[in-house]
């Protein structure tokens, strides 16, 4: 029996699930290896009680999300977190900078809000449950996603890269943004996207999260030498990442 897979979305724009529909070339091949039991974006049914692999998109922003994740963790033998929201907090976690109450009041007005369903400070799903696999990025890279899904189906371990982006960027012979006096977060951001934005002429904005190998302290110093303050760098990096801890340690 092929593994039963569910695709679930928490707080996000469902962009990564949309992205999954964009792999026309490989979608049928992938579907041939699994039993797709539920896909929140694309199916009208309900999530089944039993499944083997859960693919989860989005950040955790409510108590309901926490309960759902705990249920998923208890059911699935493998959980794949996809997208910046699920892996590093993404755009929803921007709300954790400054006062959360003020941000909510700005959108919903004063007092308790029913639609928020037990709101909590937004966080990546990896802050709530352990996951076996992570596919970072905003949106996810579909080649990487199919590789990770393939690894999950084979029971291989996660192989999320730990290095910053500069190496692959060099192999693509991009001209470094720092040579033009522009700030690029590639020097601290996790590689694995083939430096796509940089190759298309845009500096890296850090959507794949802080690379484990990155030397943040050195990056802060060398950016300061180039007139970019620690605060400015953190503001830039915060777009997709909950990084206060990393920047203040």
């Amino acid at each position: 029996m092929p593994p039963r897979v569910v695709v679930v979305g928490l707080a996000s724009d469902f962009g990564c699930q949309v992205q999954m529909t964009n792999i026309e070339d490989q979608l049928l091949d992938v579907l041939g290896r699994i039993e797709l039991s539920y896909w929140q974006l694309a199916s009208s049914g309900h999530m089944p009680e039993e499944y083997d692999v859960a693919i989860v998109e989005g950040a955790v922003t409510t108590g309901e999300h926490v309960a759902l994740l705990e249920r998923i963790r208890a059911t699935a033998s493998a959980v794949i977190a996809i997208g910046a929201c699920a892996v590093t907090g993404g755009i929803p976690a921007l709300a954790t900078s400054g006062s959360l109450d003020d941000h909510y009041a700005c959108v919903y007005g004063e007092g308790d809000v029913e639609v928020a369903c037990g709101r909590i400070a937004p966080m990546p799903i990896t802050s709530v449950i352990d996951v076996e696999y992570r596919v970072p990025g905003c949106p996810i890279d579909m080649d990487e996603f199919t590789q990770v899904l393939s690894r999950a189906l084979q029971g291989l371990s996660d192989c999320i890269p730990r290095e910053p982006m500069c190496a692959i960027c060099k192999t693509l012979e991009n001209i470094c943004f720092y040579e033009r006096g522009e700030v690029c977060l590639g020097l601290i951001t996790r590689t694995g996207c083939n430096a796509r934005c940089i190759t298309l002429g845009r500096p890296c904005t850090g959507c794949r999260g802080l690379a484990e190998d990155a030397n943040l302290e050195s990056a802060i110093l060398l950016l300061a030498e180039r007139g970019v303050s620690r605060e400015d760098l953190m503001t830039r990096a915060r777009l997709y990442n909950t990084l206060e801890e990393a920047f203040t340690r």
Binding site: G32, S150, P164, C166, E173, I175, Y178
Partner: protein
């Protein structure tokens, strides 16, 4: 070796002629910088280039290459052919030709690499003289000169090229595609003067004479910790290095799970994963140790085996490193007594 003279305005004839029988690759402009790419028309070739973003090693040992395809069901290799079209790389500087010879020691030595060999054997090399940039320190290793390892070498004498012809194939190419004449005494004198001027144009004279000894003596120097604090562990230095040859090999399954490819990609000793082994052990865990061993490998380990350092002073790593770490700085610090 023998010598010929070609008028400079004949250069397009040579490039156009070569293009009939070969894929011609040379330095072309990319924004403010240069890259080795296929030359479609003679005007694309920019022999006035300073250096290229990536060295020519990419043409023999690509950043990513498929080694073979395999079937999952019966574990059989489906395709492990190396495609290597006949080609000419036009416009290599002496440092890059020297670097290829250092790569040959590794890929064509005790453990021969069929992928590298196929590309190397199908490729002819035409060198061209250069001027030192601010980052160059080839003079420190003697790699500002090149006497073999090429088919043809062009030295720019202003209105003409002084051509050193090293191989029979090189001589045949010249005969076939371009009008040249024998070098006379005044040409040879101009060539000698050019060489003297070139040697004198290096403003920096790095003293590398005691380097192996210094490396032995400074193994525990705090210099390495200081460098480790600055190093971004980004691997940019390894990628742009004409002599870094480390690679990783991974198997990738296709989406249907029935076939896969074995892929070789450039690796860097600056990554934590590089020296990580089973059970999570890592014998180069600290950044300082990784930076240190990059230098010990290049300036000591390789030297002890091949009697050359694994560096040609091209300056690409110094230019690529956002943290400003350069071999020139490291060697100078060692000469001056390290960090202490």
């Amino acid at each position: 070796m023998f010598f010929r003279i070609m008028d400079k305005d004949r250069l397009p004839d040579l490039v156009a002629g070569l293009s009939k029988g070969f894929e011609v690759i040379g330095p072309v402009a990319k924004g403010e910088r240069f890259v080795f790419e296929r030359i479609e028309t003679p005007e694309m070739l920019r022999l006035d280039y300073d250096t290229t973003l990536l060295p020519p090693k990419k043409l023999f040992f690509p950043p990513e290459e498929q080694m073979m395809r395999f079937r999952v069901a019966d574990n059989e290799v489906v395709d492990d052919e190396v495609y290597a079209a006949p080609r000419v790389i036009f416009g290599l500087h002496p440092c890059d030709i020297n670097a290829l010879m250092l790569m040959d020691n590794v890929f064509l030595g005790e453990y021969e690499d069929p992928y590298y060999r196929a590309r190397r054997e199908s490729t002819m090399l035409i060198g061209v003289s250069c001027k030192p940039t601010d980052e160059c320190f080839c003079n420190a290793w003697g790699t500002d000169e090149v006497h073999w390892g090429f088919d043809v070498f062009l030295t720019d004498l202003g209105d003409r090229y002084f051509i050193s012809v090293r191989s029979v194939k090189g001589a045949e190419l010249l005969d076939e595609f371009v009008a040249t004449r024998d070098a006379d005494e005044s040409d040879t004198a101009a060539f000698q003067q050019h060489t003297r001027n070139f040697k004198n144009s290096f403003t920096d004279d790095l003293d590398t004479s005691q380097l192996p000894l210094l490396l032995d003596a400074k193994f525990d120097d705090p210099l390495w910790d200081r460098l480790g604090e600055r190093c971004l562990s980004c691997g940019a230095c390894s990628m742009v290095c004409p002599t870094c040859y480390c690679f990783d090999v991974t198997d990738r399954l296709e989406a249907d799970g029935k076939t896969g490819t074995r892929v070789r990609t450039w690796d860097s000793c600056q990554f934590t994963q590089f020296a990580e082994v089973a059970h999570g052990q890592n014998f180069r865990e600290s950044r300082a140790s990784r930076v240190k061993y990059r230098y010990y490998h290049k300036q000591w380990g390789y030297l002890s085996k091949f009697e050359r350092v694994l560096c040609v002073g091209c300056g690409r790593c110094a230019r690529a490193c956002l943290a400003g770490i350069s071999p020139r700085e490291v060697v100078t610090a060692l000469e001056m007594g390290g960090a202490s």
